[in-house]
Structures are given as structure tokens and as C-alpha cells.
Amino acid sequence: MAECHPVGFQWVVEAKARGARVFHVDPRFTRTSALADRYLPIRAGSDIVLLGALINHVLANELDFREYVLAYTNAATLVSEDFRDTEDLDGLFSGWDPETGTYDPRSWAYEPVGEQPSAEQAEGGRRDAEAAGADTYGAGGPAAHPSPRTDPTLTHPRCVYQILKRHFARYTPELVEQLCGIPRDGFAELAEAVTANSGRERTTAWVYSVGWTQHTVGAQYIRTASILQLLLGNMGRPGGGILALRGHASIQGSTDIPTLFNILPGYLDMPNAHRHGGLDHYLELEGGTTGFWGNRRAYLVSLLKAWWGEAATEANDFCFGHLPRITGDHGHYTTVMGQIDGTVKGYFVVGENPAVGSSGGRAQRLGLANLDWLVVRDLTLVETATFWLDGPELETGETRTEDIGTEVFFLPAASHVEKEGTFTNTQRLLQWREKALDPVGDRRSELWFYYHLGKLIRQRLTDDEIDRPVRELTWDYPEHGVHREPSAAAVLREINGVGPDGRALSTSTQLRADGSTTCGCWIYCGVYADEVNQAARRRPGREQSAVAPEWGWAWPANKRILYNRASADPEGRPWSERKAYVWWDAERGEWTGHDVPDCEIGKPPGYVPPEGAFAQASLAGTDPFIMQSDGKGWLYVPTGLVDGPLPTHYEPHESPVGNPLYSQQANPARHTYHRPESPYNAPGGRFPYVLTTYRLTEHHTAGAMSRPLAYLAELQPELFCEVSPRLAEELGLVNGGWATIVTSRAVVEARVLVTGRVRPLRVGGRVVHQVGLPYHWGWGGGGLVTGDVANDLMPLVLDPNVYIQESKAMTCDVLPGRRPRGPAVLDLLERYRDG
């Protein structure tokens, strides 16, 4: 955190100064470790073992926050008799179909009560594996029965609490030592601190970044942390939570308003041709009728009205048919395979640089070289724009410039100070940026580019039916300035939504399913409340409470801590004075506190929903997790996950270590590409070391925003690899000299940094060496400093829930000295692939 989110880390340092204890778990020793109370080195890819052992420690010693757990989680819920655990089936959950490599998730469900969902309604497993369906749970949880059978004594063998207890029983301090390389005293200290700092008076927070997500079990890493935090009562409370520190300014915004293939704004599913018919059928299959997600018809109809305006009517399903249908995985890496196969002809790349920034760069570049046309928009001439002129495949002789048919348009982009608009930062906070000056020359904002491109496309339309969705699209924004820049404020207001009176809406509960409201993204409804750009609010922090509600605007409804109803006990009283956040004011008959309460403001804690209640009316006054169909935090996930209802330890796709828990070595549901462009390292001794990648404070992603800057280039001029003194000695590596890192994908050279910051770990009774590489270099990109592409080494293997690639743990070999040049690179790779 100190390396990659340094200014955020000031708050950790401040907490430490006030008495907080800070633990840092990471394969490398960093500036964060230097400031932590305790640093625990871990083998990359083994975190579920560590977190699972903490869960086991809590359960075995009954250290859970029982009142919280009983009231706010599904611990007491009974699970179906058909469910079988990985502990019963040697690493597989019940429902595995080896033929398709997917799960039928129906046996994971709660014990049946009343009407059961049909096979086509069952979420998770096979259905969500098909198109990263779990992405849609970013706002609303999947459907489960709102009032399942429970055992509040937590003793029933099929209640979630007992299932967890059995599942995690083998996650012991010994296993942590054996698989993570963390000694028992270190684990004991962590376990003691985490449990002692949780409960009524205290909370513990976990902070993670892509070190947890870029794995074939990435979503399950986060799930493991969720289980621990729910058991300890650390969700929805100040000082608690599981905090994702994201790596790009508005990566949260580009997920909420997704430039992603499988979701629409506000985490509504893109309709799937195999699954959905018309609007009614789609809504029926996309979640339950209970909890706030029960209102999704209003969210979707308001979106369709925002996009197709007058043309969208009740009679035509509000133009639901104008939405194109997905039929499976159309994600980034599969799209690249489509480029190689020749089905993808034209490609827009805007502010991203896949030629050096994506895993397996060679496949990316082969794809780019097989396009008809490519549009690249960026600040500098990034490698994605110049691959045909100076890419590595030219050096190896695999391709020649004059053989590449791709037509390339490079359009210079406006910078963040040359346009106005909002970022949504990692804490769900929308912050409006004022424009400092106009862009010069041909530089333009993406807003300008897409708006004017859309206008030019609309001039070319015909009466043909295929043009109807573009013809009927609302595409008219006020323009201003010398460049005819469209108004970003007008776009933000469309995102916010407008009511029947033509005024900006204040909150998403005003949205209607009858077509009388418009809203471009329901979770952002309120950002333009009272016709005021709330994201532009700048009341200084020193003039506000620590919550700072008048700086920017957080979705939803300016709530700064999600699910904060859990900060009060079931009766609505703060768990302790020290941790008071929001509470029920019985006199005034409403919720109040330091933040906007994340529940219906007038709903008393004693409210019991009537049978068959709809949407939020189905939530009890004690239910804090209001986007879930049952209002509960899920320790066990009965529906919605692709690879199992519980996290379990699997080794990375490429690992030098055997899985001692099961004969099932890696996540059986992981997403692989078995094609020549996607080779994998063979198991065994050819690739003996663990390879992991990371960022440096002084650089940003693949370097296009940092290597061209003199200050930053000088601070970190060269690609290096961090190795331990022991590995250096074994291999004859010299500090400051060169090393060559090899996988079956690529050969990369780097300067050697021999350092005690990377420690050899004893894993499974033998020494495992880890090699660390920052991934900021590339051959061009306008960089004042250049270097080999670390991402070229990565395998194309994905988490099955969300299709994020495993780039934090794989295997490699290391050789002393510089890499070969030219075609000799291919010879070396050939030798490694042949074993």
C-alpha cells in the first residue's frame, strides 16, 4: 500500500500512531513492511490457506462475534442434504461435470422451503461460468429464499456454521507453515491480533489489491476475507471492511458504468441470447424479488428510457430488443483470440496499452497484426500503436513490417487537466475535475471523440432495420468551446436521471418501471440531485467531520460506509460508544448518525416483513445487507459463484508445489486457452521458481504515464528482478548484473537486485525461491527509459468468476546473464517448451 497507494497509506501510519497494529503479508518486503508492526512473507498463491487458518482459529475457539453473526449472517441457515464438500470429494464440490468442466450449483442451495428456482433460474456454476456472470453481483446479490430454515443454536450438522467448521478444520497453523512459508509464531501473533481487535469495541480492516485478485481463485480470496470479517463482526462498521485499493483513477467508475462486455450500467446483466427472451423473461431470471434488487425493472426501464427516449415504450418492451445479445465469453483475452482467428476486424484502444500491459503480450501483438483497422487514442505513442514498426516479433524475425496489413490511426488524447468530468475513485467516490485549459492541436477528450464519431456514424445510417437502435438513440448534448466539446455535465445529469417533471432525480427509490423516469446508471442516481453537480462539492476536510460527506459524492446515495446498519446492534443501538456510526433514534422514529444510514430511514429495527413482501419491504428491520435477497451477509454462498460455495485452497495453475489437501491440484473451473498462442509451463523441474509481478511507487502500469516523465524515469530507470542472496549464489547472479527470466511464453532480461527483501521460504519441507518483477517497462511508448516486457512472461489462465488472469503466481526459470537476441530467442523457448 505504501508503494502503490502512498497517499492512502498516510491513514494507516496515522492509525498506527494512535495505537493500531499493522500487519503486512506480501511475498516481497516493501515500504509497507518497513512501517508495519509485523511483516509476514508469504508464498504467492497461498493466501486462502492463511485466511482459512484464521477462520479455523475463530471457529475452533468460538471467537466469533456471536450476536452479530446470528443476526446479520447466514450462519444459522440450513443447507441442502445434497451438498457435498471438497473435504468429502477430494477437492471437488458436489455438482461437478467433468465433461463441461463446470458445476451444476443446485446442490449448494439452502434446504428447500416452498417453491424452488427452476434450472434456468439457478445462478452461479455453469450459467455464470459462461460469461463471467458473477460480475453482475457488483450491486445486487443473486436470488436465495428470503426466509430459509435456520438453527439459531448453530448446532445442526447442516447449518452453515457447522459446515464452515468442518470445511476449515484442516487449515491449521501447521498447514500455514507448510504451504505459505509463514512460521507458527508469526501466525499466532496475527491470529491473536485480529481476534483481539474485533468485537463490540474494536474493528479490524483488511486491505488488498491485485495481489489478491490476479489468481485463478481470485474471487475466492476475497470470499475468504469476507467470511473472516463477517464472523468477527467487521463489516458495515467504522474501521472495518475489506478494502480494495484499485490501480487506475476511475477503474471503479469503468466498472459501475461498464466498458465491460457482460454488464450494463449499474451491474445489470447484458442479455444473453441463450438465456433470455423478452424483458419480462430477462427480469425473471436476473435475481430475486426481495431486497432492493427486487426493483431492477425500474432500474433497467429507466436506463432504456435514457438511451432510446421517446422510441422506448411499454408496447415495445422499452426497446429491450435494441440491446445486442451476448452468447458467452466475449472478454478481453477471448477477443484477442478472435483477432488472431480473423473474426475481429476493427479495434479501438483508448487509454490502455495491451501490447505491453496485458498478459501474454505476444498473443496480443499477433492479434493486433491481424486486424483490418486499429484506432489508438493516448497521450503518447504507446507500444500498441507502434507494434508494426518496432515490436519484439520483428526482432525475432517472426513478422515483418511490410507483411502486417493493419491500418493504424493514432489520435492524441486530452489529458486529465484538459477536460472536465468525474473519476469514481476506489472508495466509490465521484470527484468532479474542473478543466484547467483547452487541449491544443489534435488532442481531444474521449467524450469529444465518441460523441462526434457517433454523429458521423448517424449521418451514414439507412432505413435498414439494423440501423434502428443507432437511429433512435438519444445522442444530442450541448456543445461548447472552439472544439465543440460536448457537455460532460449534461452527460452526468443523464446518468443521474430525470423525473416526469423534467427535474433531476434525487435518489434511486424515485425510479419507476412505467417509463416515466430516465436514469443512465441507477446506482449514480442522486449525483445531480437538486440540479446541482454533487460530485463537484469541495467543502474542505478540516471544516467537516471525519466522514467528510460534503466532499464529492459517493454511490449509492452518498453513503460512505456500505451496509452501515450493521454498525448498530439488532435493536438499533451502537455496538459501543467507541464504534457508534449510525443508530435508530426512537424519539424521532428514524435512523441517524455520522453517515447516511444504509437502510430505509424510517424502518424501525423491530420491523418484521409480511409474508410475500416485495423488494425492500421484504427486509427485516435488522437486515443490514440490503442488496442481498435475504438481507444477510453470506458466510456460505448458496448461489452465484462458479467454482464453489466456499473458498478452498488450490495451487496456482503453474506451481512448483503439490496440493497436500486434495489430489485436485488447481481450481478445476479455471479458464484456460489451449492454443499455440497460449503455452503453459510444464510441471516439474524445468521451471523451478515462483514468479510474481508488482508495481513500484515511481511508475504506473505499463509505463506510458510514467516512463516519458524525466523525474520518474530517473528514479527508476531499468527493469530489475529481485532475488534472494541464496538464489543469487546458487545461480551465479551478481547484484547489478543481468539475469534472464524464462517461461514457455517469453524470455526477458532484467538487472539483478540481490536483496534480503525476497526471502526463500520453506514450503512442503523444501526451499522455494520466489522471483519478483515490476512490470512497468516496454520497448517504446515514448519512454525515456525502456526495457523488456514482464507481462510477456504471463500465462493466459483466468479466474472463472470474473475472467481476471493469474499474473501474481506462476513458475519460471532464471539464467545468469543477458538474453539471446534475434531468432535465438525462439530457439531458447523451443528448448524450454520441449522440456
Partner: protein, 186 residues
């Protein structure tokens, strides 16, 4: 400061005598006469750092149509005026000489860049979108209505604004382009 001679007021001497080297002891008439370059700025825009997702406040100082400095915004409750090495260097991000100002074009099988004016480039790109969309239009797939094109794809968004992502998703969806992705997948 006392009225003793220049030697006694020399900062080195004062620091050797034990005065705090981070405070008044480093001041001299010359440093007292220095003015911050932000003082003469014609305008100051309130902005947000474009690198990681912490969202630190930035103040962008502009003079004579040029960015003269970018500093941390002390009003921000997130950053309290602080910026990291990247945020502190972001004036270079917007002013460095490697930033492109012109549209460049590489024709199929071409061996070098050519110039193209922006309007022409926009027309050419619009032509290609319309043509490729028509040529690759898929009305049905395995017997199901899909009304889409698998011939056009897009990548990028996490470094852009919400409003920009919104127009991208809206336009692509209307065009039937479904292979739209960004850094969040990474």
C-alpha cells in the same frame, strides 16, 4: 533574528549552533525574496490525480495558456495536500515533449507514419465502423436473435471519466458491438 553580524545570521552557522534546520534557521534574505511560481497563476483548477484510484486532490495552476504547476489540494479530506512521486510529477505528464499533438496514420503494409488531419481521420474511422459493422452483422447466432457485430471490439476505460465510459458503452451497445472491455478485467 538578532541584530548581530551577517556571519552569525548565516544559516550554516545557525544550524551548527543547534537551531532547527527545518525552520527559520534556513532562511536568508535571498530565500525570503523567493516567490512561489504559483503566485502569478491566472487560474487555478481543482482537479484529481490521474494515476491510482486513491483520488488525491490536485490544484492545477495555469498562466499564459500553459500549466505552470500541479500541487496537492490541502482542502481534500483524502489527501490533505499530499501527492506521491507520480502525482507530484504530473505537471510533466501533461507538458512533456513526448506527448503527441497530431493525428498519425499508418496505411496497410506501410513502413512509416503519415500525417492526416483530424476531420479526415474522423470521417475515415466512421466509414470503417459503418462498413465493418455491416459486413460482420450477425442477426442470429445458433438460431437465436443476437443483433450484433463481432467484428468491432474496444479496450480501455479505467483511465477515463465516467461520462466518457457512459458514451462509449451507449454508442457501442447501440451499434451492437459487445466485445467492449477495460482494465478492470486485468
Amino acid at each position: 533574528m538578532s541584530g548581530r553580524g551577517w556571519l552569525a545570521r548565516w544559516p550554516v552557522i545557525r544550524q551548527l549552533r543547534g537551531q532547527d534546520g527545518r525552520s527559520d534557521a534556513v532562511r536568508s534574505p535571498r530565500t525570503d525574496a523567493l516567490r512561489p511560481r504559483t503566485e502569478d497563476a491566472a487560474t487555478v483548477a481543482r482537479s484529481i490525480c490521474p494515476y491510482c484510484a486513491v483520488g488525491c486532490g490536485q490544484l492545477v495552476y495555469v498562466e499564459d495558456g500553459k500549466v505552470t504547476q500541479i500541487e496537492g489540494d490541502p482542502d481534500s479530506p483524502i489527501s490533505r495536500g499530499r501527492l506521491c512521486p507520480k502525482g507530484s510529477a504530473s505537471k510533466q505528464l501533461v507538458t512533456h515533449p513526448g506527448r503527441q499533438t497530431q493525428v498519425l496514420y499508418r496505411r496497410p503494409y506501410g513502413t512509416g507514419w503519415e500525417r492526416l488531419d483530424l476531420d479526415t481521420a474522423m470521417e475515415m474511422i466512421a466509414d470503417r465502423v459503418v462498413r465493418t459493422r455491416r459486413e460482420t452483422w450477425e442477426e442470429t447466432h445458433e438460431g437465436k436473435v443476437v443483433r450484433r457485430t463481432m467484428g468491432i471490439a474496444s479496450l480501455g476505460g479505467a483511465t477515463l471519466d465516467d461520462e466518457e465510459n457512459y458514451l462509449m458503452k451507449k454508442l457501442y451497445t447501440a451499434l451492437g458491438a459487445v466485445q467492449v472491455e477495460n482494465q478492470a478485467r486485468i
